[in-house]
């Protein structure tokens, strides 16, 4: 398969792992390892608290689509839009 065709396929059907079989809550628990138990961040990692839910979604989608080398871009590559929306619902429902 030509590289260009593969690229189009990847855009149309982005690789993701979590859609049906994994609870989104389990993914979120892993996010807390860096972002803190209540997403409060610290001197080095920004807090998610000041972000509006829509901003969070937009940032996450940017990470997924970005080709830059940021660790968040690499970690989020496995998520699709549906996963991100579910994550946003969960996080912003519980954020204190």
């Amino acid at each position: 398969m030509k590289k260009s065709k593969l690229f189009i396929l990847l855009i149309l059907f982005p690789f993701h792992i979590f859609a049906n079989d994994i609870e989104i809550n389990v993914i979120i628990e892993n996010c807390k390892s860096c972002h803190g138990q209540n997403y409060e961040g610290n001197n080095y990692i920004k807090s998610l608290k000041p972000l509006e839910k829509e901003e969070f979604i937009s940032k996450m989608i940017k990470y997924v689509n970005s080709n830059n080398d940021h660790v968040m871009s690499r970690i989020s590559k496995v998520l699709n839009k549906k996963d991100i929306l579910k994550m946003a619902d969960e996080i912003y429902e519980k954020i204190e």
Partner: protein, 432 residues
């Protein structure tokens, strides 16, 4: 079994249970009546390192419902993550040394002791002082043990340079020996074979020792004698060494005679598998590794180097209600890292609660992100998600990705900030 079922029924009937306090509240949909019954299942957690402390942080919400006992031999926790930075004088020792926040752990019994034996058939553990404590569920997060498979080397020998691979104060001894080096010296780091704790750490150590000695204006040569032919983040490390430590760090893989087979402490040299002899002023042997001693003593690892667990629950395959987490298990594709132990322990604790409350077991997903420093201003990472194979018997990687070798300086600097950010949130969550 009948007794156990009655016990569980009574516990479930009587337990205090508030849905809002549950870990993953959407998963729990039951309501049970509140009662002041003292009948509680007892969970013993051995080891308050990353794996054990993560389990505790998740079980804390249930500390009124369970009788939780923690057994930890140390009075403070010294983490292995970031310890190479302490060795290189980039951060102070206090950064990696943590007190226990007893206020936060107020509903938990804390024993400063170690476990001598586990009597699995009686569900009893015996501590160092010969106290015997029974358990319903036992979580073991005991770290690792070391092999003495290099002729002439004994990891318990207090007269040699310590390996500094187990979070002890030997680190000070290591630093002193490093500081005592003359103006011009040769250093050997012997890197172990897989699997071992923190795969990139021997190479991070070489980078940071070079960085430290350069700052001290000392001349040196570091030889990494490797029991492997490749290692994680290899291209990035090699690039860092080319750019910043040209000719002062040399990596010798196994295929070129890198595997150390003999150590002569009197004359300070090692021999490798092809008969080559390397003499040095500072020899840091990082030994091959295996599951912690308590697991072997209690015959829980079936004569294997690592414990076989069910990756859904982390329960030992042949021992019901005994769970092992962290570096002592065979975790499939997951490396032995603090991030991995943290990720595994979250699933262990959650699914243990699910089991006790007779709820469905969650299908796990794990994350590992492992940062390495090459200097105070440069770090890089490898990251991967993991899930279970179709048979749910093994943890498999979904593919890893690393920092690009040609990343810009500010990106390498940004990764140092991510690393500190991860570490500080981790220890804040676990140790307060």
């Amino acid at each position: 079994m009948k007794k156990l079922n009655n016990y569980r029924r009574n516990f479930l009937k009587n337990s205090s249970y508030f849905i809002s306090s549950l870990l993953f509240s959407s998963i729990f949909k039951i309501n049970t009546s509140y009662s002041k019954s003292k009948l509680k299942p007892r969970i013993i957690i051995v080891g308050f390192g990353i794996g054990g402390a993560t389990c505790i942080s998740y079980l804390l919400k249930f500390s009124k419902n369970f009788d939780i006992i923690v057994i930890e031999k140390n009075e403070r926790i010294q983490t292995c993550p970031m310890s190479n930075l302490v060795i290189a004088d980039i951060i102070p020792y206090s950064y990696i040394s943590h007190d226990f926040d007893y206020m936060r752990l107020k509903n938990i019994k804390f024993l400063n002791s170690s476990v001598k034996t586990i009597y699995t058939s009686k569900k009893i553990i015996e501590t160092e002082d010969s106290s015997k404590i029974d358990y319903d569920y036992l979580i073991l997060s005991p770290g690792i043990n070391f092999k003495n498979d290099i002729d002439g080397y004994n990891h318990k020998d207090r007269t040699i340079i310590p390996h500094c691979w187990n979070g002890t104060k030997d680190l000070f001894k290591f630093k002193k020996r490093l500081n005592d080096l003359e103006k011009k010296s040769t250093i050997i780091i012997s890197a172990p074979d897989y699997p071992y704790r923190c795969p990139p750490a021997p190479y991070e150590r070489a980078s940071l020792l070079a960085n430290f000695l350069k700052r001290k204006k000392k001349k040196f040569k570091i030889l990494i004698l490797d029991s492997k032919d490749s290692f994680t983040k290899k291209e990035i490390f090699l690039n860092e060494w080319r750019n910043y430590h040209k000719e002062s760090i040399e990596w010798i893989p196994k295929s070129k005679g890198g595997k150390v087979t003999y150590f002569n402490k009197k004359e300070n040299y090692v021999k490798t598998s092809n008969g080559s002899k390397f003499k040095a002023d500072f020899i840091n042997i990082i030994p091959n590794q295996k599951a912690a001693d308590i697991l072997t003593r209690s015959k829980l690892n079936g004569n294997k180097d690592w414990c076989d667990v069910n990756p859904m629950t982390f329960e030992l395959k042949n021992f019901r209600n005994i769970f092992v987490v962290g570096d002592s298990i065979d975790a499939g594709d997951m490396p032995k890292s603090a991030f991995s132990a943290n990720s595994q322990a979250k699933i262990l604790a959650t699914n243990l609660v699910n089991r006790i409350y007779e709820k469905d077991i969650l299908s796990p997903v794990f994350l590992n992100t492992c940062y390495s420093f090459s200097s105070s201003k440069r770090a890089f990472s490898i990251t991967s998600w993991y899930k279970l194979n179709k048979k749910k018997t093994r943890i498999v990687s979904l593919g890893s990705s690393t920092t690009k070798v040609d990343a810009l300086s500010h990106q390498y600097y940004d990764e140092t900030r991510q690393a500190y950010g991860w570490y500080e949130n981790l220890v804040k969550t676990l140790y307060g």
